[in-house]
């Protein structure tokens, strides 16, 4: 799971163009949305695409995203449980 967490941090930095951040800047339990990293609803849609394209998980309701994308920890756990790629 550790490798997956690093992979996720890299993907988030790239997809959301967080130019000034490195993987060390994102802690596993940091809140991703609103406070913490300050991501918003458009970013949530980007993360949903990553889930689909890279891990084969299709989320049909964007509201589910809130729980899954709470932190790198929760994302990694969800992906581990549901990935098809």
């Amino acid at each position: 799971m550790e490798e997956l967490k690093i992979e996720l941090k890299e993907k988030i930095i790239e997809a959301l163009n967080l130019e000034d951040m490195s993987i060390e800047d994102i802690k596993d339990t940091d809140v991703l949305f609103d406070e913490g990293l300050g991501l918003d609803s458009i970013d949530a849609l980007e993360l949903i695409i990553i889930l689909d394209k890279d891990y084969g998980i299709k989320l049909t309701d964007s509201k589910d995203g809130k729980k899954i994308f709470q932190s790198i920890e929760t994302m990694a756990q969800y992906i581990t449980d549901h990935r098809t790629k």
Binding site: A15, L16, N17, E19, E46, I49, K53
Partner: protein, 355 residues
């Protein structure tokens, strides 16, 4: 009827224009046919969380509009009006590329949202939490002139104050290749690019973001007064004389009253003849140009307004604006006329006075 003053300017262009420098050390681009803007330090103006989604055009606009508002010493606006020829074309390209590459799968919304034409106006409003009037014009060479006309009407006819107007266009690699393919932009390698001596098909492609704060209050550091502006979408070369005469007449100005005329020559052999006609009419005025320094893009008329504003304020014409770097006239500069057109369409005139 109020008067309309330019009370603040901000310019990001291929020259060093955002640091309040009026063409002191112009950069020579005679070996380039596609010129990128000189980038300001974006982080000085935009929080990192916002920068990450913005294309060059949007970033340049946020910077130029901030500079203009600071220059005018205003924090709130009665309106935000922009003109853009191609819109946020970098994001359009991104979205199109992905849509075609992945056959409509795995698409993300960011570049789609950023590609909408009114992104710049919307982003500025968001940043300022400004609920006021917010328009975007996307009409090729008439985009900025339309924004200007709207702004002037807001101030003169409708008594508004602090209207932000801007012209923005950005370079996108593939799109510019397409325009080269159809002869709108000069082909590579026809160096040196000299718009006066080597007229050929196409223009030199460039980009810019230029903003102004218009107001009905004359301030100590007001740049100039805009008397009138007029646009017509089609004009034959032999009607240029009438077009300009009618406009001046409607404003009780005679040809000899125009100290300086700014022309939009861009070196395109197919369309510079319009400017030749205009030039013939103003043999006793200072005749100056700007696209040899700033290149061509659909909203380049915004650069000509910036040039005129600075000339009227400084009461000096930099010699680089003349065709042969000729020594500038030492007479007072009171009335400037600007004439632009884009590939034979969207002819615009702007009449300005010193304050």
């Amino acid at each position: 009827m109020e008067r309309c003053y330019i009370n603040g300017v901000g310019c990001v262009s291929v020259q060093n224009t955002f640091e309040g420098n009026f063409l002191e050390n112009p950069i020579d681009y005679s070996d380039t046919n596609i010129i990128y803007a000189v980038k300001p330090n974006y982080k000085d103006f935009i929080p990192p969380a916002a920068i990450r989604r913005m294309s060059a055009g949007v970033k340049n606009s946020v910077v130029a509009s901030s500079i203009a508002m600071n220059d005018a010493n205003v924090e709130t606006l009665d309106g935000i009006i922009t003109g853009t020829g191609m819109g946020c074309i970098q994001d359009s390209e991104k979205f199109l590329d992905k849509m075609i590459e992945f056959n409509e799968e795995y698409l993300t919304p960011t570049s789609f949202i950023q590609s909408t034409h009114n992104t710049v106006s919307g982003q500025i409003a968001l940043k300022l939490k400004c609920n006021a009037y917010n328009f975007t014009y996307v009409n090729t060479g008439g985009s900025f002139p339309s924004a200007l006309l709207d702004g002037v009407m807001q101030v003169k006819d409708e008594g508004k104050n602090n209207i932000l107007i801007g012209g923005i266009d950005e370079i996108a690699e593939y799109t510019f290749k397409l325009y080269q393919a159809i002869g709108h932009i000069k082909k590579d390698g026809e160096v040196p690019f000299n718009i006066f001596e080597n007229r050929s098909e196409g223009s030199i492609g460039a980009e810019g973001a230029v903003f102004f704060v218009l107001g009905n209050e004359k301030k100590e550091n007001s740049y100039a007064e805009i008397i009138d502006t007029h646009i017509i979408n089609n004009l034959k070369v032999d009607k240029v004389n009438d077009f300009i005469q009618d406009f001046l007449q409607n404003n009780d100005i005679k040809i000899e009253d125009v100290d300086t005329i700014i022309l939009g020559n861009n070196g395109d052999i197919n369309f510079d003849s319009y400017y030749d006609e205009a030039e013939k009419m103003f043999q006793s005025s200072e005749i100056i140009y700007y696209k040899h320094l700033f290149g061509e893009f659909m909203t380049a008329p915004s650069i000509s307004l910036w040039v005129a504003s600075n000339i009227l304020k400084n009461q000096e014409i930099p010699s680089v604006l003349y065709k042969n770097n000729k020594k500038n006239s030492s007479n007072a500069i009171r009335t400037i006329l600007i004439y632009n057109q884009y590939r034979g369409k969207d002819h615009s005139l702007i009449l300005m006075k010193n304050v």
